[in-house]
């Protein structure tokens, strides 16, 4: 008996010895993901994790730098024709991680594959502006007139009509260039063993545990400074924080509620305003929200600044307008809707609702959203608008707003590519009502025509002027309750050098990040 207990104690003390450290030594940059990518196939990458990692493995014709500037990727350089409808790309010599040379035919293959009706890619619209893309997406009949490959290293893309944001679309994960022999050989399996010409190559994917990328030695550009990236999949925020605290992670996104803790102690906090807007969409097709006075009143009834200060711990900037700061050429419009419950009640009375009305605001399950909407509910209650909060989980919520069921919904919009266009066309062009992004059913002919004009406009300054006018109109029409542009906070381990939060989610390729 005694021997057994001695052995037990020895075992336990060996196991629990502080010297067998809990820190896992690793030559790799250790990162955490909240959700696991569904696939690394560019054609099916729709969520944040999939798109971000797929962009590390694949190259595009062009890409964004961490600062959000367009830069060459596979295309060494390119020319745009006078009429803005023909783009000629000259490819740099490059190799896929499997060893094959990247040819113009791979670009053709990847783009045709994205558009092919057989592929059923939810992101085919990324290349929807190519000449003949619509017809091709219906029939799948080759050749696609919008793409031409005169030789091994030249790709000519023709557009249906000029689209000033086209290069931004080409930098999206969906437009990643895949190895055509691998895709043909692997079929749906490609998503789990991708072969791209990006700076990193997938070395290991242990489901629900970890994804390991190692340096792609065949990458033609300047090679990444570190040997590899490991992405641990840790769903719980508190657990991610614990892993960072013991030193098992090199990078941590800090939740806003923890800001004070991390501001006061430890390594410096990185901060950036995200390319994201948070709003409460109003159902513009339905009374009383079809009346602009009501919509303006709702905007003025809520003290957004106070909610930011107390519920978001200061981690956001009030949205006067819809285009985030980083994408602007001129300052935000002046605040049209300062907190003024008196004026809000006047407007409601003018619109014929002196005693207010009842409405529902729908939200997806999310603790922070819940706290925010409870404040909103209280503010609106003070001007006589009774709010019922309805919570659904994501897929049911999405279904409801697609069907236009709710009076109003709490939602946000992330940039697909860093361009003001991405915050205007999808959200407010009448052709994008519903699944296209305009979920409040907003229709304004002059906004539509200004946006169409901007798409044809090659001159940056002129284009910005058009966007500015669109924003001004939309802001005045108040199809939403405008809330804020949230900030993102990250913290890095002392050993990590050269990291910055990318402007766009797939802009950080960890090339210059090292120990």
């Amino acid at each position: 008996m005694k021997r057994v207990s001695t052995a037990l104690i020895t075992c336990l003390s060996l196991m629990l010895q502080p010297s067998c450290s809990v820190v896992e030594e690793s030559p790799y940059i250790r990162l955490a993901l909240q959700t696991e990518p569904a696939t690394l196939d560019p054609a099916y990458s729709i969520d944040y994790s999939s798109g971000m990692i797929s962009s590390l493995v694949h190259s595009n014709l062009v890409r964004y730098t961490p600062e959000g500037k367009l830069a060459p990727d596979l295309a060494r350089n390119w020319e745009i024709s006078q009429d803005g409808r023909t783009y000629t790309f000259h490819l740099a010599p490059a190799r896929f991680s499997c060893g094959r040379k990247v040819e113009a035919l791979d670009v053709l293959f990847s783009f045709e594959r994205l558009l092919d009706p057989e592929t059923i890619s939810p992101r085919w619209w990324v290349l929807g502006t190519l000449l003949g893309a619509g017809t091709f997406h219906e029939s799948g009949e080759r050749p696609l007139p919008g793409i031409e490959t005169p030789d091994d290293s030249t790709v000519i893309l023709r557009l249906e009509r000029p689209a000033s944001h086209f290069l931004g679309l080409l930098a999206m994960p969906a437009a990643g260039i895949v190895c055509r022999t691998d895709v043909s050989a692997l079929g749906v399996g490609y998503g789990r063993s991708p072969c791209g010409s990006g700076p990193w190559r997938l070395a290991e994917w242990r489901e629900a545990e970890e994804i390991v990328l190692v340096r792609n030695e065949r990458f033609v550009g300047r090679k990444p400074a570190s040997e590899g990236l490991s992405f641990r999949i840790i769903p719980e925020t508190m657990t991610r924080i614990a892993e960072f605290e013991v030193g098992n992670l090199d990078l941590l996104e800090v939740p806003r509620a923890e800001l004070d803790l991390w501001r006061s102690a430890g390594p410096p906090l990185l901060e950036t305003e995200e390319l994201r807007i948070v709003y409460i969409g109003l159902n513009n097709t339905r009374a009383p929200f079809d009346d602009v006075r009501v919509r303006r009143a709702l905007n003025m009834a809520i003290d957004v600044e106070t909610i930011i200060a107390h519920v978001l711990f200061g981690g956001a900037v009030k949205a006067n307008g819809v285009i985030p700061t980083a994408l602007r050429e001129s300052p935000h419009p002046a605040d049209l809707y300062p907190y003024d419950p008196g004026r809000a009640m006047e407007l409601l009375a003018e619109a014929g609702y002196p005693n207010g009305f009842e409405m529902e605001i729908w939200q997806r399950e999310n603790p922070e959203g819940g706290r925010i909407l409870e404040s909103v509910q209280a503010y609106l209650g003070r001007v006589g608008v009774g709010v019922k909060l309805v919570t659904r989980e994501w897929s049911a919520f999405k279904q409801a707003i697609e069907r236009g069921t709710p009076d109003a919904f709490y939602l946000d919009w992330f940039a697909d590519y860093p361009d003001a266009e991405n915050f205007l066309s999808p959200l407010f062009h009448s052709s994008n009502r519903g699944g296209g992004g305009n979920r409040s059913g907003y229709v304004n002919g002059s906004v539509d025509s200004l946006l169409d004009e901007a798409a044809l406009c090659a001159d940056t300054a002129e284009r910005w002027e058009l966007y500015r006018r669109v924003e001004e109109t939309v802001y005045g029409d108040a199809p939403w309750i405008f809330l804020w542009f949230p900030a993102r906070y990250e913290i890095v381990s002392p050993r990590l050098q050269g990291y910055r939060i990318p402007v766009i989610f797939n802009g950080q390729r960890f090339l210059d990040v090292s120990f």
């Binding site: 196991m15 629990l16 010895q17 502080p18 067998c20 450290s21 809990v22 896992e24 696991e36 569904a38 696939t39 099916y44 729709i46 969520d47 009706p117 059923i120 890619s121 939810p122 992101r123 085919w124 619209w125 749906v188 399996g189 998503g191 789990r192 242990r206 489901e207 629900a208 545990e209 641990r232 999949i233 840790i234 769903p235 719980e236 508190m238 657990t239 614990a242 892993e243 605290e245 013991v246 098992n248 659904r392 989980e393 994501w394 897929s395 049911a396 999405k398 279904q399 409801a400 697609e402 919009w413 992330f414 697909d416 999808p426 994008n432 519903g434 699944g435 296209g436 992004g437």
Partner: protein, 315 residues
């Protein structure tokens, strides 16, 4: 032995209608709950046509009855289908993840039984009343503490403050990674086991056979082990057996907190993303496991207490 065999065969045959019920209910539930699976596959910006194409590809455009019949047909061939989202066979993922959940559940069960019985014994013993009261307090805390909070507390204590165990992860199955999640998962059941053991032991102390054993001059430990505990253990087995199913499914929270790549997280992911084949496959698998475990519990009664006869008629 023949009796036991007959019993087992009978129970296994009974499995079929139960599973058919499970299959049918989960299948119907998929279509009753709100949320469209194809919406989970398209992101924030899409067109109706893509939704229709996806529905067609996944067979969701067919009449419900036809989908059901086809589904049963696949099940008959032991085909659980392919995940809508990852395009990976569901059975493959389940076989990969189930052993990890099983490891976690079995470890938690072992901890619960061993420590729960010990604590229950101490509480019932009565020689050290203070210790007994402390044990009861512990069991009260054990059933009341939320798993989530306990998990974080253990991480804070053992990983951050003491630096002796890793905060989360699977570590390729290494024991060090198993300890915290297993303890977390075991606590509430450990408390229940302790309470049941205590009342069983107290009851047994009053029985004639214990008095006889003591009167024979047997050592207290022998009395406890051979006479008291053995009788007090029958309800414990029932509880652990009944709890085992909830270990498997209840490990969801524990798996999330500790980043444990088990079946629980798999199901939650499936539910959140309306991945029908994943939900259906995993629920069915859980149901089979649950029924089998119950069967084993029933059989084990016979070994612990030979007076309990399987199959109804006593002799």
């Amino acid at each position: 032995v023949a009796d036991v065999l007959k019993f087992v065969v009978k129970r296994i045959l009974l499995l079929l209608p139960i599973l058919l019920g499970v299959v049918t209910v989960t299948f119907l539930l998929m279509y009753v709950i709100p949320g469209d699976p194809v919406l989970a596959l398209v992101g924030e910006r899409y067109d109706e046509e893509t939704l229709d194409d996806l529905r067609e590809e996944l067979g969701l455009d067919k009449p419900l009855a036809l989908q059901y019949v086809e589904y049963l047909g696949r099940l008959a061939r032991f085909d659980l289908g392919t995940s809508f989202l990852t395009r990976r066979p569901v059975s493959e993922a389940i076989l990969e993840r189930f052993p990890r959940t099983l490891t976690l559940a079995l470890s938690a069960m072992a901890i619960a039984v061993v420590f729960g019985t010990l604590i229950g014994l101490l509480a019932a013993w009565g020689r050290y009343p203070r210790l007994g009261r402390a044990c009861m307090l512990f069991t009260l805390a054990g059933v009341s503490i939320p798993v989530f909070w306990l998990g974080l507390l253990l991480i804070h204590l053992f990983a951050i403050k003491l630096s002796v165990l890793p905060p989360s992860g699977y570590g390729g199955g290494s024991l060090r990674y198993l300890i915290l999640p297993a303890v977390t998962l075991s606590l509430s059941s450990m408390a229940t086991v302790a309470r049941v053991t205590r009342s069983g032991v107290i009851e047994a102390f009053g029985e004639d056979y214990v008095r006889t054993a003591r009167a024979k001059g047997l050592a207290e430990l022998v009395v406890l082990g051979k006479h008291v505990l053995r009788n007090a253990l029958v309800p414990v087995v029932t509880i652990v057996g009944a709890d085992f199913g909830s270990y498997l499914s209840g490990s969801v929270l524990t798996e999330s907190i500790f980043g444990w790549p088990g079946l629980g997280r798999f199901i939650v992911q499936g539910i959140l993303r309306r991945d029908f084949p994943v939900i259906q496959g995993a629920v069915l698998f859980m149901a089979v496991t649950f029924v089998l475990v119950n069967l084993m519990v029933d059989i084990s009664y016979g070994f612990i207490d030979p007076r309990i006869r399987l199959g109804g008629k006593g002799r």
